[in-house]
């Protein structure tokens, strides 16, 4: 099953809508609730990242019999130092993002803790692609 969702820059009102839709789909497919939670927590952090830090982007989810692969592709500005961004506590979040309860530098570390495979590719000026895979 292939699903696609568009996310928009600074669209905090709808932040989480794509994650919520994928959660409902996984529940309908009777995926183990603990696995669903891991997928959704990782995806939600990635979705918030695309809205808070990037100029929006796309979320692509492919659900197979034994796994889900989610790709969050944003339109930039890109991450200059991925290793720095992966460390807990490091953040470039705006005050607006912090007011929403995010921006403490836990997004990427939280994603890493919840997925079986994580691949972050970023080019400054072009964008970031976060690909994650969780096995059922």
């Amino acid at each position: 099953m292939h699903l696609e969702y568009q996310v928009f820059e600074a669209d905090f009102v709808n932040a989480g809508a794509a994650s919520s839709a994928i959660k409902k789909t996984l529940k309908q497919l009777n995926v183990n609730p603990q696995i669903v939670k891991r997928v959704v927590v990782a995806l939600y952090e990635a979705e918030v990242n695309a809205i808070a830090h990037a100029y929006g982007g796309m979320i692509y989810a492919d659900i197979e019999a034994d796994r889900i692969i989610v790709k969050v592709v944003d339109k930039g500005p890109g991450i200059p130092d991925i290793e720095w961004a992966m460390q807990e506590g490091n953040s470039t979040a705006s005050p607006e993002v912090r007011n929403m309860g995010f921006g403490a530098g836990m997004g990427l570390p939280n994603i890493r803790k919840n997925v079986d495979r994580l691949d972050v590719q970023s080019t400054v000026g072009v964008g970031t692609t976060v690909e994650m895979e969780v096995h059922f």
Binding site: S19, K23, K37, V41, E45, G101, F102, A104, N110
Partner: protein, 114 residues
Amino acid sequence: MTLKEIADVLEAKVLCGQDRLNEEHETAFASDLMSDVLTLGDYNPVILTGLCNMQTIRTCEMGNLDIIVLVRRKKATEEMIEEAEDEGMVVMESDFSMFKACGLLFKGGMQPIF
């Protein structure tokens, strides 16, 4: 503590989930940071937070957390209550500070999850 006892001790107004007030819960977690709330694994503690916007409800939805106490006189919007109702959550508002709310629940027997 039952959710009814929690609402009573916090002098809280229950906004939705009134039909669940007889449920017994043992643990609570307090944070204004939603990324912290997303690190709780399989636990479903009562969440105390002073963060009051749609992300509060959405984050709890993503984390399978369905009991929220808004502290520090924060008032939920209609939109938040509607979303919480759709998710079958219990949401209450207390005028108490986070410190006071946590202290009262701890005294009442609620446990931390770590």
